[in-house]
């Protein structure tokens, strides 16, 4: 197992390098640069001066190597759009609201979704099942900015129970968290339902019933555990999704999070920030899938990571 983890970490390093190269090249292949205004461009002399100040006049490979050398020392540069701080400082402040929003969204949404999925699987073709399907379908198909708007309209504008948007106090977090949680609830309800139905149709469940085990023990000790694999597969990546912020939920509810930076860094050709964001996601996905693989092995002894042992 340890050898497997080490091998995987090495492959993570290679993935990291490959992704950084691709992102870097794509970033610079996009036409335009940080000082190319559409209507009233600065003079050529001034543009050249500004480019030199940021080191953008150097050959691309020099720029890449310099940047990656910095990354090795946890120096991701200074964002063009916020020159008073480093990229790391920017990320660490903007990340907090995104983590609170996304983290609570998943932590509340996932268990709810699992419960709903279980209830649906155990009461197949009953009204609970239909309700769960409806919730899952609605949650997955209605865009989150529409859900957000409805929530604001109903709870803030009509009922006046909660503030419409903003982030200064926890009272204002409730609506965006609900909006955000809709996705994990829907996803988990669907996955849990189908995984459990699949497991319950297996012969070993019939055997357990024949042995006289209580339905509760069958469900919680056997079915749920055997259905957990697909749930783990979705969980960690979904958690990373939260860390990167939801652009729409954050915009609709005026959350000062990370989401908007994904767009603005590309729009403004903010190369250091764009690279840092992409590298961060890459790194987190690599680690998340590694952890998922390890958790698979822990919950299901039939899976042996790293080939035959």
């Amino acid at each position: 197992m340890l050898g497997y983890i080490l091998r995987r970490l090495v492959s993570v390093a290679f993935t990291f390098i490959a992704v950084s190269l691709i992102i870097f090249l794509m970033m610079h292949a996009v036409p335009g640069g940080p000082f190319d205004a559409n209507d009233m461009p600065v003079s050529e002399a001034v543009r050249a001066k500004l480019m030199a100040q940021l080191g953008l006049d150097q050959p691309l490979y020099v720029q890449y190597l310099k940047y990656m050398w910095g990354v090795l020392h946890f120096d991701f540069g200074v964002p063009y759009q916020s020159p008073g701080e480093s990229v790391l400082q920017l990320l660490s402040r903007a990340w907090v609201p995104s983590l609170v929003l996304g983290g609570l969204g998943v932590l509340i949404g996932a268990p709810l979704g699992i419960l709903l999925g279980m209830a649906a699987a155990l009461n197949r073709n009953s009204w609970i099942d239909y309700l769960a399907s409806a919730v899952a379908t609605i949650g997955l198909t209605i865009p989150v900015f529409v859900t957000s708007m409805l929530l604001i309209l109903v709870f803030a504008v009509w009922l006046k129970w909660l503030p419409a948007s903003g982030w200064p106090n926890p009272e204002r977090w409730i609506l965006p968290i609900i909006a955000y949680a809709a996705i994990p609830v829907a996803t988990y309800a669907r996955y849990t339902r189908s995984a459990m139905l699949d497991t319950m149709s297996r012969p070993f469940v019939t055997v357990l019933r024949a042995k006289g085990l209580s339905e509760r023990r069958i469900v919680f000790q056997h079915v749920l555990r055997n259905s957990a694999i697909p749930l783990v597969t979705v969980f960690l990546p979904m958690f990373i999704g939260t860390a990167t912020g939801s652009i729409f939920v954050e915009a609709m509810f005026r959350v000062p999070g990370l989401g908007a930076y994904f767009v603005s860094s590309i729009e403004t050709r903010d190369y250091p920030l764009e690279m840092a964001l992409m590298l961060m996601i890459t790194f987190m996905y690599c680690i998340a899938y590694l952890l998922s693989d390890i958790v698979y092995a822990l919950i299901n002894p039939r899976i042996r990571v790293g080939g035959a042992e």
Binding site: A37, M40, V42, V46, E85, A94, M149, V157, S165
Partner: protein
């Protein structure tokens, strides 16, 4: 009795505690951009932090009637030859850290702008025409050659390359930079609330960089005109998108909000008295290739001028997003002339007559034409394509002309315009500086359209350097009369913005101007200092 007395005492204490809080007036306003780099208008305009300009006092600025009002300057005068302007600053103006505000701070602001890649540098060449500006920004001349001198602490001299009678209005975008702070910290003084100093009616309290939200407070040190009448101004750019702003407004989180087209009826039914409209200083017009068939014939152009029902256009397809345009100048813009506007009528019979005079009775024999429009975002994205389709129907109905529409990317459209590879265009233009010379310059001596109309050019050239304002406006009106008589363009519409404001807001700034428009934060200095709550 005892209980009552206790109650009264408790109430008195509670009232005493809440009174100071109630006396504080706070405005919650939408901002414009959710990201901003420097809190310094003279460092960057396009990437500046939210309302950076509110912190500093310009030389002069505009009120809601677009009358130029002296701010930091007390007075100004123009030399005999028209090339040099002398601005006298008010005494007693200070920075919020107590340092005196001097002519040097204004001169330094532009010297730094000319040498360090200011993204608004073009303005000081194009609108300001400051002597040496072009050479200094291109790096071929030294900054000392600029036509800018701080004669003493309260006197600034500006020299221009040609007489610029409107130079004082150009100074509405001239803010001081605290030289003493830049000497100490460089441009970084404008990155951190602790080191930012102000010279205008507001001070800064906080700046949330994640969304560029800023809290301003009334300045204790500002002694100039237009003091703030509110205590706090909270500006949040995330309220700037109407989709977010209106719900927040309806829930009581914002004091006003801009509206998108779909929201206007909702807002109208919520509070019709709260609706405010403003004309954007922009105009969409039809322009032609004057050299080639069929638009080389003035009667054809005159026919088009009378064939368009702007009232119907702006009350149907462009309802709530545009108003009729009868002049290249939008309403409220300096030099706007109602006599010019009144001529732009819809008169299908006259139009048909002109077309018949041109040799195309009922459109017979008129070639099929293709109107070229530019791919647009922003307000033009909603206006231009819809308007093109309307024109297509109108010209077919009233003149019997077959019109096609072709949409092109900006660069291709511009090539078509300048290279005359097509003969008719819808062209939108938004002002760059507040003077008629800006709009009339579009058609001057080639300009944007390769128009060379000697009679027009002579009038515009004369007006551009005329120092007497009545004469000047009269000359521009004559120039526009040439445009009308020769059918150089057909003014179509001006875009408008619509907003809803809370009934709690008061003050002059919330009342429409004499033309019925309320510019709101388009005139930040005026708006936020003439607002009460």
């Amino acid at each position: 009795m005892h209980i009552t007395r206790k109650l009264v005492a408790a109430l008195a204490v509670a009232t005493a505690l809440t009174l100071p809080a109630m006396a504080q007036s706070t405005i919650s306003a939408p901002g414009q951009s959710t990201s901003g780099t420097y809190m310094d208008y003279m460092k960057t305009v396009y990437d500046r932090a939210t309302f950076a300009e509110l912190l500093q006092v310009p030389i002069a600025t505009f009120d809601k009637e677009f009358e130029l009002t002296p701010m930091a300057a007390e007075s100004w005068s123009q030399s005999e030859d028209g090339l040099t302007w002398t601005f006298k600053l008010r005494e007693g103006l200070v920075w919020s850290d107590g340092e005196p505000l001097t002519a040097e701070d204004y001169v330094f602001a532009l010297q730094r702008a000319a040498t360090t890649g200011y993204d608004f540098a073009w303005y000081w060449d194009f609108a300001g025409g400051i002597k040496g500006w072009k050479e200094v920004t291109e790096g071929t001349a030294d900054v000392s050659t600029l036509g800018l001198v701080a004669v003493d602490d309260l006197t600034i001299e500006v020299t221009t390359v040609a007489p610029k009678p409107y130079l004082p209005s150009v100074t509405s975008l001239w803010y001081p930079v605290p030289k003493h702070k830049v000497d100490e910290l460089g441009d970084d003084w404008a990155l951190n609330v602790d080191t930012i100093v102000s010279s205008g009616p507001f001070e800064i309290e906080s700046w949330e960089k994640s969304n560029n939200a800023v809290v301003f407070t009334k300045s204790d040190t500002y002694t100039g005109p237009w003091q703030a009448q509110i205590d706090r101004l909270e500006v949040d750019p995330t309220l700037g998108a109407p989709e977010v702003g209106l719900p927040a407004f309806l829930a009581g989180d914002a004091d006003y909000s801009f509206l998108n087209t779909g929201q206007v009826p909702v807002a109208m039914s919520a509070d019709p008295d709260g609706i405010r409209r403003n004309a954007v200083f922009a105009t969409s017009y039809l322009s032609y290739d004057l050299e080639s068939e069929p638009f080389n014939n003035v009667d054809v152009r005159r026919a088009f001028y009378y064939a368009i029902d702007r009232e119907e256009l702006t009350s149907t397809v462009l309802r709530d997003i545009a108003i009729p345009a009868g002049s290249i100048l939008p309403p409220g813009y300096p030099g706007y002339n109602p006599d010019v506007v009144a001529q732009a009528t819809f008169d299908p019979e006259k139009a048909q007559q002109f077309l018949a005079d041109a040799g195309y009775p009922n459109g017979e024999g008129f070639p099929e034409i293709e109107i070229w429009i530019r791919e647009e975002g922003g307000y033009n994205g909603a206006i231009v394509p819809a308007m093109a389709q309307y024109l297509q129907a109108e010209l077919g109905e009233h003149l019997g002309i077959t019109v096609n529409i072709r949409q092109l990317p900006g660069a291709d459209w511009m090539d078509g315009l300048r290279g005359a590879t097509n003969n008719i265009f819808i062209a939108p233009y938004e002002y760059d500086y507040l003077d008629p010379s800006n709009f009339y310059g579009i058609f001057y001596n080639g300009g944007r359209h390769n128009y060379f109309v000697p009679e027009y050019d002579a009038l515009v050239a004369e007006a551009d350097s005329e120092s007497d304002w009545d004469t000047r406006y009269a000359l521009y009106a004559q120039a526009e009369q040439v445009m009308i008589d020769q059918g150089l363009i057909v003014p179509l519409v001006h875009p408008i913005t619509t907003a809803i404001i809370s009934s709690e807001l008061g003050g002059e700034a919330t009342e429409p101007n004499s033309l019925g428009f309320t510019p709101l934060d388009r005139l930040g200095h005026y708006f936020f200092t003439h607002l009460t709550k």
